[in-house]
Assembly symmetry: C2
């Protein structure tokens, strides 16, 4: 669509209050002018962006289990991680896959790029599908503790029902995989 | 799985620094003890949780276009909104659907509940599918400006390719709809 529709209902920034600059995210509160002329505040989290990989080995996908502090529980997710500064998403996807699982892929294809929480954050995740995998040695970050597993679609659906898989990128990857298996196009 | 695996690689909270308490989100930085005994910090956004609705009318789904300040562009998304304090997710789904689109549903069924950004936020979205819709009058919040549209699966896929649809909950809803149409089970 045109640039015009892109700015429909635009909220003009009147002022920006920086609140926090962390190692991963930053937070600001913008005061904005709404289309009707009145003002409102918007709490905005800035994030460097991330990548995630649906890595397929035969009829299985690679997942990693790790502790997620915001939810105070361990979760099974597809390999993923933040973009390094200046890094191309496809490089980051290859790097994260190798670091977390040890696997290298000769074929990484972008499935979709999506915002996780458009109401309050600008985090954009690039989801790749990888096959043609070869095994190497995993090298997680020093503060990263995780366990790698390869699971079937049925196991993934079971994990979703159990709540062991419960994050947007992984459920989306499982859905995309199911669509491919059903012969649909994304 | 058991409670034991739920806490695998647990990160023990050593201290919590509250940074910000906003109208929608709050932010804290936790210092944690990792499984190997060393310490790290975790930047954590707290969110009240949200609901989203895949609302189907015949072969179309309802979407709303609105401006998303974090991305500085308008986006097409399924109807969604935050939980009010103490509100059951299904009530919230019915309320948001009615407020944003004017439609009431006699049938709201939970499709999945997912964390949007498990690395830094505890936001949990409950995604419902609604059919058997009857039309009423939309009543958006006073600071909410949006436009309602009903689109086919093919249009939704086109919007995804164009980037007009680019958020996790909406892409997930489109994928789920496609799986249902292909005869798959979620």
């Amino acid at each position: 669509m045109s640039h015009k529709t892109d700015k429909k209902f635009e909220e003009i920034t009147l002022s920006t209050e920086p609140i926090f600059q962390g190692k991963i995210i930053s937070l600001q509160v913008d005061t904005v002018q709404l289309p009707n002329g009145s003002t409102a505040t918007r709490e905005i989290v800035r994030h460097p962006g991330a990548v995630a990989v649906l890595a397929l080995i035969g009829d299985k996908m690679l997942v990693v289990e790790q502790y997620r502090k915001p939810m105070e529980k361990s979760q099974v997710e597809i390999p993923a991680g933040k973009l390094d500064p200046g890094e191309h998403p496809q490089e980051a996807a290859a790097r994260e896959l190798a670091e977390e699982t040890g696997y290298r892929s000769a074929s990484l294809k972008l499935l979709s790029s999506f915002y996780t929480s458009p109401g309050f954050a600008d985090e954009l995740i690039h989801l790749y599908v990888a096959d043609d995998l070869s095994q190497g040695e995993a090298r997680p970050d020093e503060d990263e503790f995780l366990e790698v597993e390869a699971i079937t679609l049925e196991q993934a659906q079971h994990y979703i029902r159990e709540g062991r898989i419960s994050d947007a990128k992984t459920i989306m990857a499982v859905y995309a995989w199911q669509i491919m298996k059903l012969g649909g196009t994304l």
